[in-house]
């Protein structure tokens, strides 16, 4: 370690290297890729957590398949768990009990698998929020954003199917709700349900089929999508946050070899350790306490895995007021809208956003430097409104527990969530946008006047003022990234004051109105030079006014 001389490559390594290169001509490509630069920022680890938990899911999942028997055939349990001995159940449930009580480490691996699934989806969501709020989905990365949305969607379906396999009481109830939502689809619902279940609910086919989907088809697609996601990322390189030397043309960070590989390796072990720690010390999905599934019983206070909570909540909240009939055929909006509509809204909205935003702003430029969320207030406000909508749905999914814990009338909680589902996102939008604009004002002030030093000086006239000091070069760089946000690519009015044909059409008018709305409140940084404000006369009323206008 302490030897400073670059040693010659050991003979064995050289042999392997030459062997590969003789066959693949990889020297140049290999070096180029080992030199790939990863920008340094903690938020880039969120996607890594998702990747690592996916790897953990694959590893533990393979282990579980060695014993799990995806069969709905009836059996009488005679394994080691005494409380269920002699009870009739499916082979699937019996084999899950076997993994838990007759396979050493089986319980641990099962719990690692379950915790990893929860963390996989959670890290996907947080990673996606990071990408959304920093505008990292913008050109040229829209396609990777779409792949990400597809991964997110499939991850939820994959999780639901996995949760359904052990055939314990809550898992069977999840399948039942899934089938109930299928049935509500007009015209094809009953057919979908019969083909999926091989007949009526529950039948004998659903667990073997879900098993195939859960361990083969969906993970296969996920693996392919994750590989594509990763290759595109590798090819286009990461976005980076504004800072010294970081430009749209040049990325600054840690190279893959040697440093990033070691950092990422360490982080993989940390992720694995946290998930294993949870699995070792925090019980999850104790199926042996729930008992086998029967379609006739249920316990109250059942909660799905967290990522299904928003669907559960929307099904609870959405009333039956809008159900109607067409010629005697029921259109069950009370199930269709929350069960499928909200999902569609969420994933459709996420998928469409990069294109909607580019259409509104007319911004077709390539962006490698990420936005600070405050510098795109409308996008940020939309994101926060979306989180609020999702959060209200999610909380509503445990309204019975909230009602019980806080001793509130159950129906009152439903009404609260119904009202707040509409009101909450609107409030969140307004508040988030205001906060962003406030931060923009502060940024502009800091840029012009420097930061408040905490030193109070008395002027000859007797007035006390706080001395402002110059911000660091790095800070100035970050603050100046707000410049050039209000981008209009093609003027809608030409030199003679004639509107362009496109902007005279209804869509064009809508677009320019939206574009105006999108940026109109931004604090202008035009012509602001760092540290040109009056250092000593900061804070007078007139100046605050000036900052607020543009």
């Amino acid at each position: 370690m302490s030897d400073n001389q670059a040693p010659p490559a050991p003979k064995a390594l050289r042999g392997v290297g030459n062997f590969i290169d003789d066959r693949f001509h990889l020297a140049k490509t290999g070096e180029k890729n080992l030199r790939k630069v990863f920008p340094n920022h903690w938020s880039f680890m969120l996607g890594e957590i998702a990747l690592y938990s996916f790897i953990i899911l694959l590893l533990t999942g393979v282990f579980l398949t060695l014993w799990f028997n995806p069969s709905m055939a009836h059996t009488v349990y005679d394994g080691s768990y005494e409380r269920l001995r002699g009870v009739g159940m499916s082979e699937a449930y019996a084999s899950t009990l076997h993994i838990t009580f007759d396979v050493r480490g089986g319980l641990l691996i099962r719990q690692i698998h379950h915790w990893a699934a929860l963390i996989f989806v959670a890290s996907l969501v947080i990673h996606m929020l990071r990408v959304f709020f920093t505008g990292a989905f913008r050109k040229p990365r829209e396609i990777n954003w779409l792949i990400g949305v597809a991964i997110f969607t499939l991850a939820i379906v994959e999780g639901l199917f996995g949760y359904s396999l052990p055939d314990d009481l809550p898992s069977g109830m999840g399948v039942r709700i899934f089938q109930g939502v299928l049935l509500s689809i007009p015209l094809i619902g009953t057919y979908l349900s019969f083909f999926m279940f091989g007949g009526e609910f529950p039948g004998e086919m659903i667990i073997p089929r879900l098993y195939m989907l859960h361990i083969l088809l969906i993970p296969g697609i996920l693996l392919a999508l994750i590989a594509a996601h990763f290759m595109i990322l590798w090819h286009q390189k990461h976005t980076q946050y504004p800072g010294k030397g970081r430009t749209e043309k040049k990325v600054v960070g840690t190279p893959m070899f040697p440093a990033f590989a070691i950092k990422a390796g360490g982080f993989f072990f940390f992720t694995f350790a946290v998930i294993t720690g949870l699995a070792g010390f925090v019980q999850i999905n104790p199926i042996h306490l729930f008992g086998p599934f029967t379609p006739t019983s249920i316990t109250s206070g059942l909660q799905p895995d967290w990522y299904m909570g928003f669907l559960e909540g929307s099904l609870r909240m959405f009333p039956n007021w809008f159900d109607f009939d067409i010629g005697g055929y029921a259109i069950i909006t009370g199930v269709l809208v929350p069960g499928l509509g909200f999902m569609g809204l969420l994933f459709g909205g996420l998928a469409a956003w990069p294109f909607v935003e580019a259409w509104i702003t007319g911004d077709r430029r390539v962006h490698n430097v990420a936005d600070r969320p405050r510098n795109a207030p409308v996008r940020t406000a939309f994101g926060v409104a979306g989180i609020t909508f999702y959060g209200v749905c999610w909380l509503a999914g445990s309204n019975d527990i909230l009602s019980h814990v806080f001793q509130i009338n159950l129906y009152a909680t439903t009404w609260f969530f119904r009202i707040f589902l509409i009101l909450g996102p609107i409030l969140a939008f307004i508040i988030a946008k205001r906060i962003c604009l406030g931060l923009q004002r502060r940024d502009r002030e800091t840029l012009e006047h420097g930061y408040e030093s905490g030193t109070i000086t008395q002027l000859p006239g007797g007035e006390f003022v706080e001395v402002h000091k110059k911000s660091s070069g790095e800070t100035v760089h970050v603050l100046e990234s707000a410049k050039g946000k209000d981008y209009t690519p093609e003027p809608t009015v030409d030199a003679n004051g004639v509107e362009s044909p496109a902007s005279r059409k209804p869509m064009g008018r809508l677009r320019s109105r939206l574009a105006h709305w999108y940026t109109k409140d931004n604090v202008s940084f035009d012509g602001v030079e760092p540290h040109t404000g009056h250092h000593l006369h900061h804070g007078t009323h007139a100046e605050k006014e000036k900052v607020g206008q543009h």
Binding site: S2, D3, N4, A6, P8, A9, L13, G17, I20, A27, E31, K32, R35, K36, V37, D102, G105, L108, Q111, R176, Q179, G180, L183, S184, P186, L187, S193, F194, F195, M196, F197, G198, G199, F201, M205, Q236, K250, G253, P255, F257, A259, K263, G266, F270, A273, T276, A279, F281, T294, P295, T296, I298, G301, R316, P319, N320, A330, V335, L410, Y411
Partner: protein, 369 residues
Amino acid sequence: MTDNTNHHDAASGADEPRERVIGTPSAADGAATATGDPHRRHEGPYPAEETHTRSEETQRKGERIAALWFLIAFLAGVGFFVSYFSFPPNADGDPSVADPGIAQLANVLLGGTLTLSLFAIGAGMTVWARQVLPHYEVSSPYDELPSSKEEKGSFSEFFMRGANESGFTKRPLMRRTLLLAMAPLGLAPIVLLRDTGPLPKDTLKSTTWEDGLHMVVEGTDRRITAADLDEVGSMVTALPESHDPEHGLSMNEQAKTVILLIKMDPQDFGPDMTQQQLDWTHDGIVAYSKICTHVGCPAALYERTTHRILCPCHQSTFDAANGAEVVFGPAHRPLPQLPVRVDDEGYLVAAGDFSAPVGPTFWDAGVED
């Protein structure tokens, strides 16, 4: 892909690119650079001004700490095996994971040692990265995004020439018949799914309940008499008596036929009960399907004072005194009612099938809102 080989440091390997590139550990470790010690030659693979080397003292300390973590990881890994073999599965006399308490303990020990081992490796590698490796701020250009006009033009011309030569553009007959030929093949996988299940037909609209079929308490084969439900407000979950006592009812049958038998004061039946619905009760005993008409959970909770039936899943609430009509929540329609009568021996029996299809409402259930 990335194109930053221009950062190749002449001092380190431009002379011997092939040998250096493949599998050669770079000299980044321990190399003092211009930023660290100006008297030493920069040996790292990246430019000196982008490599912030740690002092030799920091590196040596880092090495020791990392090594300590790796040792802990090793010991914890050994501990994992000890924990594993300490709890044989279901062996006589020995502690066994079959006991839920022991299973928890084994889980904590296995999980704990594995966690420590993984964490310590992670910690060691992090110390390695943060104290032994330099801090890098290597810059590398993003790719210029659109290809140049010439490249695009060349590609476009090449492609169109090729397409023309292939005849795909010029010979529509061939093209169209090929597309036609593909259509059935594309549909084949969907058609092959046809036998995944039978057609629904009217299966969802009827159950095995029929006139004279006895009711038994769920989970038993005990027939129910009217006297079993003598107290107003009592409720029982019931199923039809199985024709095949050995195997009992199938899951499918249970999922459709399960009912709630509720004893009410006949005075309490509300105005929304039709005469027919009242006729379907017996001495205040009324039977409703237990499967919620929303998405199919068992509506298992009954509150006797308000005679409401509540589904714990999504809180659809039905009024048992008024034909189980929906009083709150998302359900589309009332719980179907099962006609009840008493046979000659005093046992409760069905007087026919349900008043409507049971379970989640589907598009052609044929029920009014």
